[in-house]
Symmetry: D2
Amino acid sequence: MYNIALFGAGRIGQVHAVNIANHPQSSLYSVIDPYQKGAQALATQYGAKIQTTEEAMADPDVHAVLIASATDTHADLIEQAALAKKTIFCEKPIHLDISRVQQCMTVVKENNVPLLVGFNRRYDPQFRLIRERLSAGAIGKAESLVITSRDPSPPPAEYIKVSGGMFRDMTIHDFDMARFIIGEDPVSIYAQGSNLVDPAIGQAGDIDTAFIVMKFPSGAMATITNSRRSGYGYDQRLELHGEKGLLKADNIHENTVELWSEESGCVGAKPEHFFLERYAQAYRSEWDHFIDVLAGHCEPECSGYDGEFALKIADCALESLKTGQEVTL
Amino acid sequence: MYNIALFGAGRIGQVHAVNIANHPQSSLYSVIDPYQKGAQALATQYGAKIQTTEEAMADPDVHAVLIASATDTHADLIEQAALAKKTIFCEKPIHLDISRVQQCMTVVKENNVPLLVGFNRRYDPQFRLIRERLSAGAIGKAESLVITSRDPSPPPAEYIKVSGGMFRDMTIHDFDMARFIIGEDPVSIYAQGSNLVDPAIGQAGDIDTAFIVMKFPSGAMATITNSRRSGYGYDQRLELHGEKGLLKADNIHENTVELWSEESGCVGAKPEHFFLERYAQAYRSEWDHFIDVLAGHCEPECSGYDGEFALKIADCALESLKTGQEVTL
Amino acid sequence: MYNIALFGAGRIGQVHAVNIANHPQSSLYSVIDPYQKGAQALATQYGAKIQTTEEAMADPDVHAVLIASATDTHADLIEQAALAKKTIFCEKPIHLDISRVQQCMTVVKENNVPLLVGFNRRYDPQFRLIRERLSAGAIGKAESLVITSRDPSPPPAEYIKVSGGMFRDMTIHDFDMARFIIGEDPVSIYAQGSNLVDPAIGQAGDIDTAFIVMKFPSGAMATITNSRRSGYGYDQRLELHGEKGLLKADNIHENTVELWSEESGCVGAKPEHFFLERYAQAYRSEWDHFIDVLAGHCEPECSGYDGEFALKIADCALESLKTGQEVTL
Amino acid sequence: MYNIALFGAGRIGQVHAVNIANHPQSSLYSVIDPYQKGAQALATQYGAKIQTTEEAMADPDVHAVLIASATDTHADLIEQAALAKKTIFCEKPIHLDISRVQQCMTVVKENNVPLLVGFNRRYDPQFRLIRERLSAGAIGKAESLVITSRDPSPPPAEYIKVSGGMFRDMTIHDFDMARFIIGEDPVSIYAQGSNLVDPAIGQAGDIDTAFIVMKFPSGAMATITNSRRSGYGYDQRLELHGEKGLLKADNIHENTVELWSEESGCVGAKPEHFFLERYAQAYRSEWDHFIDVLAGHCEPECSGYDGEFALKIADCALESLKTGQEVTL
């Protein structure tokens, strides 16, 4: 049984707490959060302790840390955990500044601790199946990848300001997905964007709608379609075209019930509302993988390098958006 | 926290054990099973005790019993639990002999304990949504109900012999579903069947393929399509036609990935393989309901009366199959 | 080029007129209809003559007759055409009285003329493909056939009175379809029905909603779901389950456009409105087949025997509806 | 009745010949093609004359010309027809060189004859419905347009050489579609491409796989996904995201039949094979529109300006592909 110290008792922390508690090989050992009330509620629910960061890092009974705290604390906590020789699960991103990410990676490397970066979508069974079927030769060589990713509704403008912008906060998942599916690092990127959803986002210096084109060494290409507001739920689709055909992963809808009538036509349910619903299974599978890492059965599939590379792509996308030129990575 | 004594550590018992353990208001207190090894394994996994039937019934710390043991033990255990004033969750069927069911119901009634009969499909979110939308007037009055229910592959012929036959074992779920959706007790039934899947089933005196037509007091009708072998997974669909349109619940497929290619056309995943996968959510929701019953928030939605009525329909279907006449209930 | 005399310039006659005129091997030679204005309009549109029945039958330039006139004239016209040695295409039904049908068949036989009875659905490419794939072994032996057939809205009660009732008028297509797909003549039939759509239909002595179960010599079974009013268009689906899997033909919808939105969910188009739209291709393919018959390349696929048998099933269904017993054919 | 002179008796000419002949207000008057055998076959089939270009242009009985001849003859024939005051239907493109197109437009304008350029996809009922629903406010303002367009298999490399390249030959339809749907002229374009399908295409100096991003004055954006080889039929999809939701047009598949089985999963039919099948209705609707133009009921919806603008976008896309920069129009 692995004892887990959980940093951050917010929305994502709570998702992980359930999975930690329900997994037969892990238990929620302690919760660390400056917001005491949230920490206490979560700790009570799962019979866990309240600890400070220092206590958790120093506690020999803590086998691993799960970092789901505020973004700007990730790098510091990773370094402290690395020094304390804890196995680390860190929510994306490691940091918004790539030089800080690189610094942090050095500490991780020096201390030789496993670090899993939480790009949860890699563990979605649909997307993973596409990756597996590509590897198994179902469509021959990959040629064109089309990623659709739209949030149901935009975050408040205050969040935009601390998020690092749409590319570093939202599209970063799609950048990682493109690398995960194609299995190569892109060589160039072009980004085009607009502020169409909420003027406050534009005033905060960001966009909310984007099309991105990436090219890979093999000649394969990927496009990403993003919007901060779908109006109909969380739109998460992926389509991979190869030399022998197409692999498509469609949305998962809220239910399978349809109403057919004179007035309305044939009406089905919307896609699952947002990531908590859509990626519930992905979060569980991600945790299963981390338990395997803890048990020494494998290396982290999604490493610090992956976290760093996704951020690097985001930075280049931003540069392309500003210059109107494709940027070479 | 409600302590649950679980009778039966087999396949269904294990499904319930997970849900009991994961629910914040219940815990698996004890396991009772004549097969000691199975009981022990399950008890160990969830930190539960091993008890005998007598110990469990006499134990004041046991708040409720979940009966998932062999079919022929259900009625006896229900009666013992009723006398011991335990709240009861019993897997269907109560008994294969309707007079024994009625006897059992009398004991339950005299002891005034809540009894929930486990027609799990009533808790499937898709089918429940159809019931709710019908009640909300989405299609006006119900007119025609079409239930498709096909198992992936037939059980062994030995099971057929102790199962009470297809109508009492398999179709009984569909009989209950028809009553649940239409909200009326049928007035007549006609059944036609064949032995097409496995000759051993015919030699055991049973059929494996059936069409059934039921009529309800309002003039609404239902048809049930059954097969013991689909060849492509667990086919569980429902379609309700009313005066203003149609409500349809489709299968849930294993995933949303499609392969489009020259040789194969457009290929999607099969329906979920069998009931453990297809009704995983239904089992969880059913347990949520039982916790509500235990907490005194509501009466059991699916009572002994429902269990008895479904069996009565099965008996009439069998009579119709033999006589070629529709049978009045 | 085959010259066709068309009896009946109404809705169905007009459908055939287009197909006759557009086919490179046939031309609309003459139109015969007691309603002169309709006959004249159609004749003018296609550059055809107006003839009387006697003129058409006596005219050596008429190679074939297409009978799309009122139902009660079909048998007489068939007999006259047979005596005049014309090749005959007759819309279903031949007659509502089976003894008159048999009489008529005798005349056809004595005169040795080809007679094609217009069960148009046999020529629908979807249903035909199911028949072909069954023959090619795609699902092994046929076991269960499920036919869904719902009209968009009920006909006026006056039509009901002359139609011979739902089974002889509407379900007769489904009876024929069951024989066409299974490839056997049924041995028994059970019918259950209600008057739910329009009280005037009940007052005219008919039903408007029905479930039917048929059994075939091989043990295969079929069920038919009928309603005179769908509320959402013409619902024409077919599903055939066999020992190795399922073949399904879904509705053809008005278009492929979907609207996904917050308020409405995921909305697609309704099924094609009614038979003129849904079976437009079937009517064309049926005419192609008749041209092949005229050219002596093949026998009529859908003969007088098929017309007679479908009516016989309808009569038995009516008897079952009245007696509550399955009727042996 | 309008007499039509058809230039070009090839594949596209034959498509138009059927529609001209079947339309109640037009007839195929003459066929002009340097390949005499093809011209004769088509003329015989529809009872048309054989003419030379000069004869057709000088013939006062010719009301309109349909130009479906080789691409490099389009501009010359348009000019001759304009001088002869014929109404003109010309297949795209007018010419591969934009200055020649502009010259040609001047002649058309001076002679004040209607010119319809055959971007057939504008008449596809699915895509047109999306345009209409956008106009009707179904999704508010347009934000992101996603066009998928993949041919079933690549043309021979010789064709590539005379085609003007993928952007001017194939993508030009998508450029026009983007303008048709969004209802604005784009302000910038970026193109990325690869030669993945056939090395011979690369040796001919062209690409066969492309992603394109366009931006419009309103901030709306469009992306186009192209491949010369799908492997599974003609992939023609369109998805328009707006402030209130999504409008999607899916492929039309060869039929609605599905096979569900153990070995194969759930298998549906491929998309319609290529443009002759997929856009059969679009060609008919396009001809209906041209008859309306001939009758003076409306102006050509798709004019020389549209033909010129689509070519201009193609030229800019080519420049972007070469420079790696987005190009301002």
